[in-house]
Symmetry: C2
Subunit: 185 residues, 2 copies
Protein backbone atom coordinates (compact mmCIF):
# COMPACT_ATOMS: atom_id res chain seq x y z
CA UNK A 1 0.00 0.00 0.00
CA UNK A 2 1.58 3.22 -1.17
CA UNK A 3 1.60 6.33 0.95
CA UNK A 4 1.89 9.88 -0.25
CA UNK A 5 5.25 10.42 1.41
CA UNK A 6 6.45 7.32 -0.33
CA UNK A 7 5.36 8.51 -3.74
CA UNK A 8 6.86 11.89 -3.05
CA UNK A 9 10.21 10.27 -2.43
CA UNK A 10 9.94 8.20 -5.58
CA UNK A 11 9.22 11.31 -7.60
CA UNK A 12 12.27 12.99 -6.14
CA UNK A 13 14.47 9.98 -6.89
CA UNK A 14 13.23 9.64 -10.44
CA UNK A 15 13.55 13.36 -11.04
CA UNK A 16 17.08 13.45 -9.67
CA UNK A 17 18.12 10.79 -12.10
CA UNK A 18 16.39 12.31 -15.10
CA UNK A 19 17.46 15.88 -14.35
CA UNK A 20 21.05 14.77 -13.97
CA UNK A 21 20.97 12.82 -17.23
CA UNK A 22 18.84 14.96 -19.50
CA UNK A 23 18.91 18.33 -17.80
CA UNK A 24 16.05 20.19 -16.19
CA UNK A 25 14.55 21.76 -19.29
CA UNK A 26 15.28 18.56 -21.17
CA UNK A 27 13.08 16.59 -18.80
CA UNK A 28 9.32 16.96 -19.15
CA UNK A 29 6.68 16.35 -16.55
CA UNK A 30 5.41 13.46 -18.61
CA UNK A 31 8.89 11.94 -18.65
CA UNK A 32 8.75 11.82 -14.89
CA UNK A 33 5.16 10.60 -14.85
CA UNK A 34 6.12 7.90 -17.33
CA UNK A 35 8.86 6.57 -15.08
CA UNK A 36 6.54 6.83 -12.15
CA UNK A 37 3.86 4.88 -13.96
CA UNK A 38 1.13 7.46 -13.60
CA UNK A 39 -0.25 10.46 -15.49
CA UNK A 40 1.07 13.98 -15.28
CA UNK A 41 -1.95 15.11 -13.32
CA UNK A 42 -1.09 12.74 -10.51
CA UNK A 43 2.24 14.46 -10.12
CA UNK A 44 0.53 17.71 -9.28
CA UNK A 45 -1.06 16.17 -6.28
CA UNK A 46 2.41 15.80 -4.77
CA UNK A 47 4.14 18.89 -6.13
CA UNK A 48 2.60 22.21 -7.13
CA UNK A 49 5.02 22.69 -10.01
CA UNK A 50 8.03 21.30 -11.81
CA UNK A 51 10.20 23.97 -10.24
CA UNK A 52 9.11 22.80 -6.81
CA UNK A 53 10.37 19.31 -7.54
CA UNK A 54 13.75 20.79 -8.30
CA UNK A 55 13.58 22.96 -5.20
CA UNK A 56 12.80 19.87 -3.15
CA UNK A 57 15.91 18.23 -4.52
CA UNK A 58 18.19 21.19 -4.04
CA UNK A 59 17.02 22.49 -0.69
CA UNK A 60 19.19 20.32 1.48
CA UNK A 61 22.40 20.42 -0.59
CA UNK A 62 22.13 24.18 -0.98
CA UNK A 63 21.61 24.61 2.72
CA UNK A 64 24.74 22.59 3.43
CA UNK A 65 26.56 24.66 0.84
CA UNK A 66 25.29 27.82 2.49
CA UNK A 67 26.58 26.77 5.89
CA UNK A 68 30.02 26.27 4.38
CA UNK A 69 29.90 29.74 2.86
CA UNK A 70 28.80 31.30 6.13
CA UNK A 71 31.71 29.66 7.83
CA UNK A 72 34.27 31.01 5.39
CA UNK A 73 34.48 34.43 6.98
CA UNK A 74 34.81 32.96 10.47
CA UNK A 75 37.18 30.05 10.26
CA UNK A 76 39.27 31.02 7.23
CA UNK A 77 39.85 27.41 6.24
CA UNK A 78 42.94 26.29 4.39
CA UNK A 79 42.69 25.41 0.72
CA UNK A 80 43.01 21.77 1.66
CA UNK A 81 40.19 21.93 4.12
CA UNK A 82 37.92 23.92 1.82
CA UNK A 83 38.53 21.74 -1.24
CA UNK A 84 37.98 18.69 0.89
CA UNK A 85 34.63 20.06 1.96
CA UNK A 86 33.73 20.87 -1.63
CA UNK A 87 34.39 17.28 -2.64
CA UNK A 88 31.94 16.10 -0.02
CA UNK A 89 29.35 18.68 -1.01
CA UNK A 90 29.62 17.69 -4.65
CA UNK A 91 29.32 14.02 -3.82
CA UNK A 92 26.44 14.65 -1.45
CA UNK A 93 24.44 16.42 -4.12
CA UNK A 94 24.32 13.28 -6.30
CA UNK A 95 25.05 15.07 -9.56
CA UNK A 96 22.52 17.77 -8.84
CA UNK A 97 25.19 20.43 -8.82
CA UNK A 98 25.48 19.94 -12.54
CA UNK A 99 21.91 21.06 -13.02
CA UNK A 100 22.59 24.40 -11.43
CA UNK A 101 25.95 24.90 -13.05
CA UNK A 102 24.91 23.85 -16.48
CA UNK A 103 21.40 25.00 -17.17
CA UNK A 104 21.25 28.78 -17.14
CA UNK A 105 17.48 28.64 -17.45
CA UNK A 106 17.20 26.95 -14.06
CA UNK A 107 18.55 29.68 -11.85
CA UNK A 108 15.70 32.16 -12.25
CA UNK A 109 13.24 29.42 -11.26
CA UNK A 110 14.61 28.72 -7.84
CA UNK A 111 16.75 31.78 -7.18
CA UNK A 112 13.90 33.73 -5.64
CA UNK A 113 13.19 31.28 -2.87
CA UNK A 114 16.82 31.03 -1.83
CA UNK A 115 18.93 33.26 0.38
CA UNK A 116 21.90 33.18 -2.00
CA UNK A 117 22.38 32.39 -5.65
CA UNK A 118 24.70 29.54 -6.42
CA UNK A 119 26.79 31.95 -8.47
CA UNK A 120 27.38 34.05 -5.36
CA UNK A 121 28.35 30.98 -3.38
CA UNK A 122 30.72 29.80 -6.07
CA UNK A 123 32.26 33.28 -6.11
CA UNK A 124 32.77 33.11 -2.36
CA UNK A 125 34.59 29.80 -2.62
CA UNK A 126 36.81 31.08 -5.39
CA UNK A 127 37.58 34.20 -3.39
CA UNK A 128 38.44 32.15 -0.32
CA UNK A 129 40.71 29.90 -2.34
CA UNK A 130 42.43 32.69 -4.23
CA UNK A 131 42.92 34.86 -1.15
CA UNK A 132 42.82 38.65 -0.93
CA UNK A 133 43.98 40.67 -3.93
CA UNK A 134 44.48 37.63 -6.10
CA UNK A 135 46.59 37.74 -9.24
CA UNK A 136 45.09 36.57 -12.51
CA UNK A 137 47.15 33.41 -12.20
CA UNK A 138 45.85 32.91 -8.68
CA UNK A 139 42.27 33.23 -9.86
CA UNK A 140 42.83 30.76 -12.65
CA UNK A 141 44.35 28.29 -10.22
CA UNK A 142 41.40 28.58 -7.85
CA UNK A 143 38.95 28.11 -10.72
CA UNK A 144 40.95 25.16 -11.96
CA UNK A 145 41.11 23.49 -8.58
CA UNK A 146 37.36 23.76 -8.14
CA UNK A 147 36.80 22.43 -11.65
CA UNK A 148 38.90 19.39 -10.80
CA UNK A 149 36.89 18.78 -7.67
CA UNK A 150 33.56 18.99 -9.47
CA UNK A 151 34.39 16.95 -12.54
CA UNK A 152 36.58 14.30 -10.94
CA UNK A 153 34.13 13.74 -8.11
CA UNK A 154 31.30 13.15 -10.54
CA UNK A 155 33.39 10.69 -12.51
CA UNK A 156 34.50 8.93 -9.35
CA UNK A 157 30.88 8.53 -8.30
CA UNK A 158 30.05 6.96 -11.65
CA UNK A 159 33.02 4.64 -11.55
CA UNK A 160 32.16 3.43 -8.10
CA UNK A 161 28.44 3.13 -8.65
CA UNK A 162 27.25 6.09 -6.64
CA UNK A 163 29.48 6.21 -3.60
CA UNK A 164 32.77 8.02 -3.26
CA UNK A 165 35.67 5.72 -2.45
CA UNK A 166 38.20 7.02 0.09
CA UNK A 167 41.13 6.43 -2.23
CA UNK A 168 39.38 8.33 -5.03
CA UNK A 169 38.62 11.12 -2.64
CA UNK A 170 42.27 11.37 -1.63
CA UNK A 171 43.36 11.34 -5.25
CA UNK A 172 40.98 14.16 -6.17
CA UNK A 173 42.02 16.28 -3.24
CA UNK A 174 45.70 15.82 -4.02
CA UNK A 175 45.15 16.74 -7.66
CA UNK A 176 43.18 19.86 -6.76
CA UNK A 177 45.89 20.92 -4.34
CA UNK A 178 48.53 20.50 -7.01
CA UNK A 179 46.57 22.93 -9.13
CA UNK A 180 46.64 25.43 -6.28
CA UNK A 181 50.34 25.14 -5.57
CA UNK A 182 52.75 26.14 -8.32
CA UNK A 183 55.78 25.05 -6.29
CA UNK A 184 56.48 21.41 -5.77
CA UNK A 185 55.06 20.08 -2.51
Amino acid sequence: MRKAADTRTRILDISAELFARKGFTGTSISDIAGELGTTTAALYYHFPSKADILAGLLAEPLEAYGRVIDDLGVSHPSAESLLSTMIDLTAGARGLGQIIDRDPAVLPLIEQQLPRTSAEMQEAVIAALAGPDPSRAGLLRAQGALAVVKQATLVALELAGGSLQPEDRAEILAAALRVMNPESP
Copy 2:
Protein backbone atom coordinates in the same frame (compact mmCIF):
# COMPACT_ATOMS: atom_id res chain seq x y z
CA MET B 1 23.32 48.43 -47.66
CA ARG B 2 23.17 45.10 -45.95
CA LYS B 3 23.91 41.89 -47.78
CA ALA B 4 22.62 38.46 -46.95
CA ALA B 5 26.06 37.09 -46.11
CA ASP B 6 26.50 40.01 -43.78
CA THR B 7 23.26 39.37 -41.96
CA ARG B 8 24.07 35.69 -41.77
CA THR B 9 27.30 36.53 -39.97
CA ARG B 10 25.52 38.87 -37.60
CA ILE B 11 23.03 36.14 -36.77
CA LEU B 12 25.84 33.74 -36.02
CA ASP B 13 27.63 36.27 -33.82
CA ILE B 14 24.50 37.15 -31.88
CA SER B 15 23.55 33.51 -31.49
CA ALA B 16 27.00 32.57 -30.26
CA GLU B 17 26.77 35.16 -27.55
CA LEU B 18 23.23 34.28 -26.50
CA PHE B 19 23.75 30.51 -26.64
CA ALA B 20 26.87 30.82 -24.51
CA ARG B 21 25.11 33.00 -21.96
CA LYS B 22 21.62 31.55 -21.77
CA GLY B 23 22.09 28.10 -23.27
CA PHE B 24 20.62 26.75 -26.48
CA THR B 25 17.20 25.77 -25.21
CA GLY B 26 17.20 28.91 -23.07
CA THR B 27 17.53 31.09 -26.14
CA SER B 28 14.47 31.57 -28.33
CA ILE B 29 14.35 32.51 -31.98
CA SER B 30 12.69 35.75 -31.00
CA ASP B 31 15.55 36.51 -28.59
CA ILE B 32 17.89 36.35 -31.55
CA ALA B 33 15.54 38.30 -33.79
CA GLY B 34 15.24 40.94 -31.08
CA GLU B 35 18.99 41.47 -30.92
CA LEU B 36 19.12 41.46 -34.67
CA GLY B 37 16.43 44.10 -34.89
CA THR B 38 14.07 42.12 -37.09
CA THR B 39 11.22 39.65 -36.76
CA THR B 40 11.54 35.91 -36.35
CA ALA B 41 10.31 35.33 -39.87
CA ALA B 42 13.27 37.22 -41.30
CA LEU B 43 15.61 34.79 -39.57
CA TYR B 44 14.16 31.92 -41.53
CA TYR B 45 15.23 33.52 -44.74
CA HIS B 46 18.85 32.99 -43.63
CA PHE B 47 18.59 29.73 -41.72
CA PRO B 48 16.10 26.91 -42.18
CA SER B 49 15.94 26.16 -38.46
CA LYS B 50 17.30 27.01 -35.05
CA ALA B 51 19.36 23.83 -35.05
CA ASP B 52 20.99 24.92 -38.28
CA ILE B 53 22.20 28.10 -36.65
CA LEU B 54 23.88 25.99 -34.00
CA ALA B 55 25.31 23.68 -36.63
CA GLY B 56 26.70 26.69 -38.45
CA LEU B 57 28.44 27.76 -35.28
CA LEU B 58 29.82 24.36 -34.36
CA ALA B 59 30.86 23.05 -37.75
CA GLU B 60 34.31 24.59 -37.82
CA PRO B 61 35.29 24.01 -34.16
CA LEU B 62 34.10 20.42 -34.31
CA GLU B 63 36.04 19.81 -37.49
CA ALA B 64 39.19 21.12 -35.85
CA TYR B 65 38.45 18.94 -32.84
CA GLY B 66 37.95 15.97 -35.14
CA ARG B 67 41.31 16.50 -36.81
CA VAL B 68 42.97 16.41 -33.41
CA ILE B 69 41.22 13.16 -32.58
CA ASP B 70 42.21 11.59 -35.88
CA ASP B 71 45.78 12.53 -35.19
CA LEU B 72 45.83 10.89 -31.76
CA GLY B 73 46.36 7.39 -33.09
CA VAL B 74 49.13 8.52 -35.40
CA SER B 75 51.31 10.93 -33.50
CA HIS B 76 50.71 9.79 -29.91
CA PRO B 77 51.20 13.28 -28.54
CA SER B 78 52.51 13.92 -25.04
CA ALA B 79 50.10 15.09 -22.35
CA GLU B 80 51.66 18.52 -22.57
CA SER B 81 51.14 18.73 -26.29
CA LEU B 82 47.58 17.40 -26.16
CA LEU B 83 46.50 19.62 -23.29
CA SER B 84 48.06 22.55 -25.04
CA THR B 85 46.02 21.79 -28.13
CA MET B 86 42.87 21.43 -26.04
CA ILE B 87 43.40 24.89 -24.59
CA ASP B 88 43.52 26.34 -28.08
CA LEU B 89 40.48 24.38 -29.20
CA THR B 90 38.53 25.58 -26.18
CA ALA B 91 39.56 29.16 -26.74
CA GLY B 92 38.85 28.94 -30.46
CA ALA B 93 35.32 27.79 -29.86
CA ARG B 94 34.44 31.04 -28.05
CA GLY B 95 32.53 29.39 -25.26
CA LEU B 96 30.59 27.21 -27.65
CA GLY B 97 32.03 24.06 -26.14
CA GLN B 98 29.93 24.77 -23.09
CA ILE B 99 26.78 24.43 -25.10
CA ILE B 100 27.60 20.90 -26.10
CA ASP B 101 28.94 19.87 -22.73
CA ARG B 102 26.18 21.40 -20.73
CA ASP B 103 22.93 21.03 -22.58
CA PRO B 104 22.12 17.34 -23.01
CA ALA B 105 19.13 18.23 -25.17
CA VAL B 106 21.41 19.72 -27.80
CA LEU B 107 23.28 16.61 -28.85
CA PRO B 108 20.39 14.82 -30.57
CA LEU B 109 19.78 17.91 -32.68
CA ILE B 110 23.15 18.03 -34.35
CA GLU B 111 24.54 14.59 -33.68
CA GLN B 112 23.06 13.13 -36.84
CA GLN B 113 24.87 15.44 -39.18
CA LEU B 114 28.24 14.87 -37.58
CA PRO B 115 30.75 12.07 -38.01
CA ARG B 116 31.44 11.75 -34.29
CA THR B 117 29.61 12.73 -31.17
CA SER B 118 31.40 15.11 -28.88
CA ALA B 119 31.15 12.48 -26.15
CA GLU B 120 33.16 10.08 -28.26
CA MET B 121 35.77 12.72 -28.92
CA GLN B 122 36.02 13.61 -25.28
CA GLU B 123 36.45 9.91 -24.50
CA ALA B 124 39.28 9.72 -27.00
CA VAL B 125 41.11 12.61 -25.39
CA ILE B 126 40.72 11.13 -21.93
CA ALA B 127 41.96 7.78 -23.17
CA ALA B 128 44.97 9.39 -24.81
CA LEU B 129 45.79 11.30 -21.63
CA ALA B 130 45.31 8.38 -19.30
CA GLY B 131 47.23 5.94 -21.46
CA PRO B 132 46.57 2.24 -21.96
CA ASP B 133 45.09 0.25 -19.08
CA PRO B 134 44.65 3.28 -16.89
CA SER B 135 44.16 2.99 -13.15
CA ARG B 136 41.16 4.65 -11.56
CA ALA B 137 43.50 7.32 -10.24
CA GLY B 138 44.91 7.82 -13.73
CA LEU B 139 41.45 8.29 -15.16
CA LEU B 140 40.54 10.81 -12.50
CA ARG B 141 43.72 12.75 -13.19
CA ALA B 142 42.99 12.85 -16.92
CA GLN B 143 39.44 13.99 -16.29
CA GLY B 144 40.69 16.58 -13.84
CA ALA B 145 43.31 17.94 -16.19
CA LEU B 146 40.77 18.37 -18.96
CA ALA B 147 38.35 20.04 -16.56
CA VAL B 148 41.04 22.54 -15.63
CA VAL B 149 41.70 23.30 -19.27
CA LYS B 150 38.05 23.89 -20.07
CA GLN B 151 37.09 25.93 -17.05
CA ALA B 152 40.24 27.99 -16.65
CA THR B 153 40.38 28.80 -20.35
CA LEU B 154 36.83 30.12 -20.28
CA VAL B 155 37.58 32.26 -17.26
CA ALA B 156 40.79 33.54 -18.82
CA LEU B 157 38.87 34.56 -21.92
CA GLU B 158 36.41 36.49 -19.80
CA LEU B 159 39.10 38.18 -17.76
CA ALA B 160 40.95 39.29 -20.86
CA GLY B 161 37.92 40.35 -22.82
CA GLY B 162 37.76 37.56 -25.31
CA SER B 163 41.34 36.78 -26.21
CA LEU B 164 43.63 34.33 -24.46
CA GLN B 165 46.74 35.96 -23.04
CA PRO B 166 49.99 34.01 -23.42
CA GLU B 167 50.77 34.16 -19.73
CA ASP B 168 47.30 32.85 -18.88
CA ARG B 169 47.73 30.10 -21.40
CA ALA B 170 51.03 29.09 -19.82
CA GLU B 171 49.49 29.15 -16.36
CA ILE B 172 46.61 26.94 -17.41
CA LEU B 173 48.85 24.43 -19.13
CA ALA B 174 51.14 24.23 -16.13
CA ALA B 175 48.20 23.70 -13.78
CA ALA B 176 46.72 20.95 -15.97
CA LEU B 177 50.08 19.23 -16.12
CA ARG B 178 50.39 19.33 -12.36
CA VAL B 179 47.09 17.48 -12.18
CA MET B 180 48.48 14.81 -14.48
CA ASN B 181 51.75 14.34 -12.61
CA PRO B 182 51.55 13.07 -9.04
CA GLU B 183 55.28 13.57 -8.52
CA SER B 184 56.62 17.05 -8.02
CA PRO B 185 57.70 18.74 -11.26
